[in-house]
């Protein structure tokens, strides 16, 4: 008879987890990072081991920015096992701090000084989802800029949740001033579809340095200004806010395509208390286009956000959390002419949705000129002569949006293409 030995795999060592921790925790939990404390020493994990363990188990940390950023079950169990029995040999080791992303600052824009992020949230006239404030950056753009990468830095890294960047000829960003006279404005993207203005992406906790894939850029016309909508979360300490936005430009002799906004938006939607379901926006692309990036607008009643192309899921965020907004990179998404695009928002206005601000739930209705819900594609036409079509398209999509009815869960708009022949 053979003696059957039970082979127990040895518990993971620090060396087994250090890269995971470095790339997926330290990247934010570092001095001057966006997270509330450092996780750069083994001791930083040890003294919080059960708390960290529960967050990893619940998929709270690392934060779920998009589906592909989540840890696999294997990665989770490796780190969980390590946390349960951190060896005393490792107590004084440190987790490597990843190199900051490469970036060359070609131009710097600055916010005016004078705003202090309050120590706690306040009541707002617009009943908006987040604490919000808008800023106009200086200087104005002298000649057309082709932006390859952004870097956002502020005096309030731990309070800043996201900045949504737009460029504007100086008229659009004033929308909202009247409602809230003490601030520079709230909804600066108000008429962006119709006026000479454009969306330049969202920088969030996960991408304060944001590189647009090579071959594409955000374009800012001459004499425009850059504005942003800041979303912040008060940390208990009042914090004087000022920020810089640095741009790395596409070298002059490089070929690159400007990204245009293609908004798959729902202007207005409603749901009864307790109601849940899906809201769809279907649209047939009249041209072929590359979509290297996309942004999402959705609030607390939204559970999942999905983008399908010809019924195939190309992007999805489960358990959508409006705290973690940003612009995401797609995996080289190319949309063929006449392809069916479908943005799907799974909404839940019941008490099953832990993020529902109303307990018990209430009947709700939201509307916004640029869309209360949206999957916003940053697209470039595949054929060079169709670039201007995309601009026309954006305007038409926004105009069409204004006549949209109020949608309810489960309802689908008929697919339509609005490009002129």
């Amino acid at each position: 008879m053979y003696h059957r030995a039970v082979i127990e795999p040895p518990p993971p060592t620090f060396e087994d987890v250090r890269n995971l921790l470095s790339q997926n925790c330290v990247i934010c939990h570092v001095e001057k990072g966006p997270a509330p404390f450092e996780l750069t020493q083994v001791e930083d994990y040890r003294k919080r081991s059960s708390f960290i363990g529960s967050l990893i188990q619940e998929d709270r940390m690392p934060p779920h920015l998009s589906q592909k950023d989540r840890w696999t079950d294997l990665e989770k169990s490796l780190v969980l096992q390590w946390l349960q029995a951190i060896s005393s040999n490792d107590q004084h080791k440190s987790v490597p701090i990843p190199d900051p992303p490469k970036f060359r600052s070609d131009q710097t824009f600055v916010t005016p000084k004078g705003f202090t992020i309050p120590s706690e949230g306040g009541e707002r006239w617009h009943q908006g989802d987040r604490d919000i404030r808008t800023f106009r950056l200086a200087p104005r753009v002298e000649k057309t800029l082709r932006v390859q990468a952004w870097r956002f830095e502020s005096t309030a890294q731990r309070e800043v949740e996201s900045v949504a960047l737009v460029h504007d000829d100086g008229t659009v960003a004033r929308y909202g001033d009247l409602q809230e006279p003490e601030t520079p404005g709230y909804e600066m993207t108000g008429d962006m579809g119709l006026r000479p203005a454009g969306f330049l992406g969202v920088l969030g906790i996960g991408n304060p340095t944001f590189r647009i894939p090579t071959g594409y850029h955000f374009e800012i016309p001459e004499s425009h200004e850059i504005d942003f909508e800041l979303r912040f979360r008060p940390s208990g300490l009042a914090r004087a806010f000022s920020a810089t936005l640095d741009a790395e430009l596409v070298p002059q002799d490089h070929l690159s395509r400007a990204l245009q906004l293609v908004p798959l938006s729902i202007r207005s939607w409603r749901a009864n208390a307790g109601e849940s379901g899906t809201i769809h926006r279907i649209w047939k692309s009249p041209i072929s286009m590359d979509v290297p990036l996309l942004s999402v607008r959705a609030g607390r009643r939204v559970k999942d956000v999905t983008l399908k192309v010809d019924d195939r899921v190309v992007f999805q965020i489960h358990d959508w959390d409006p705290h973690w907004q940003q612009t995401w990179e797609t995996t080289n998404l190319r949309v063929a002419k006449n392809a069916k695009l479908e943005a799907i928002f799974t909404v839940d206005n019941s008490d099953q949705n832990p993020r529902n601000p109303e307990t018990p739930p209430k009947d709700i209705q939201f509307g916004r000129r640029t869309g209360a819900l949206g999957v916003w594609l940053h697209a470039a036409a595949c054929e060079p002569d169709e670039t201007s079509s995309l601009q026309i398209l954006r305007r038409q999509m926004f105009t069409a949006l204004q006549t949209d009815g109020v949608m309810s869960p489960e309802q689908t708009t008929p697919g339509q293409s609005v490009l002129p022949n």
Partner: protein
């Protein structure tokens, strides 16, 4: 809720608690003598507890104004009184800080997270816990933050005691950073 034996245990902790040896201007010698109205468990770097600091400061000020005190109990091992002093000062907290590295308070009160709140009354046979639970509903869960707190159970419990209602009630469970064993 605390049973009778726990009630006397808490009484002994409360009467035995010494003010931190601190130069922070929030803590005066005479404060150690004041009757304890309430307590909250804290860690200096818990973002959930810190986000509620303005509410906690108001509660501490209220206690002080009524000649009582709030205990600020720090259960993390290895914390120094200097670190605590710095935290209290930075966030403007008002109350008596207590180091609890051996978890005597944690065990007596069965606290699980920071911030977890307690309201006491002094009864003949000891101290009664008349509220245990969350400070408010700013966080519905870890990672589930609201714009503003809408329900302030800790404050409400203090108001009840003040108006002479000593009925023990648990609040909704506190949400926060796990107190490590």
């Amino acid at each position: 809720m605390a049973s009778k034996t726990i009630a006397s245990l808490i009484l002994s902790l409360i009467s035995g608690c010494q003010a931190l040896n601190t130069t922070g201007n929030n803590i005066h010698r005479h404060e150690a003598e004041l009757p304890v109205l309430c307590a909250v468990f804290l860690t200096p770097d818990c973002p959930i507890a810190n986000a509620m600091a303005p509410s906690l400061r108001r509660i501490g000020e209220f206690a002080q104004a009524s000649n009582k005190k709030m205990l600020l109990i720090y259960p993390r091992q290895g914390l120094t009184s200097k670190e605590i002093e710095h935290h209290v000062k930075a966030y403007g907290l008002v109350g008596q800080p207590i180091l609890d590295p051996e978890h005597r308070w944690v065990k007596a009160l069965n606290a699980r997270v920071t911030p977890e709140a307690f309201v006491f009354t002094q009864a003949d046979d000891g101290v009664q816990v008349i509220y245990q639970g969350r400070v408010n509903d700013l966080f519905r869960g870890v990672g589930n933050r609201q714009e503003q707190a809408r329900n302030h159970e800790f404050r409400d419990a203090i108001e009840r005691v003040n108006s002479g209602d000593y009925m023990p009630r648990s609040g909704p469970a506190a949400v926060g950073c796990t107190i490590e064993p």
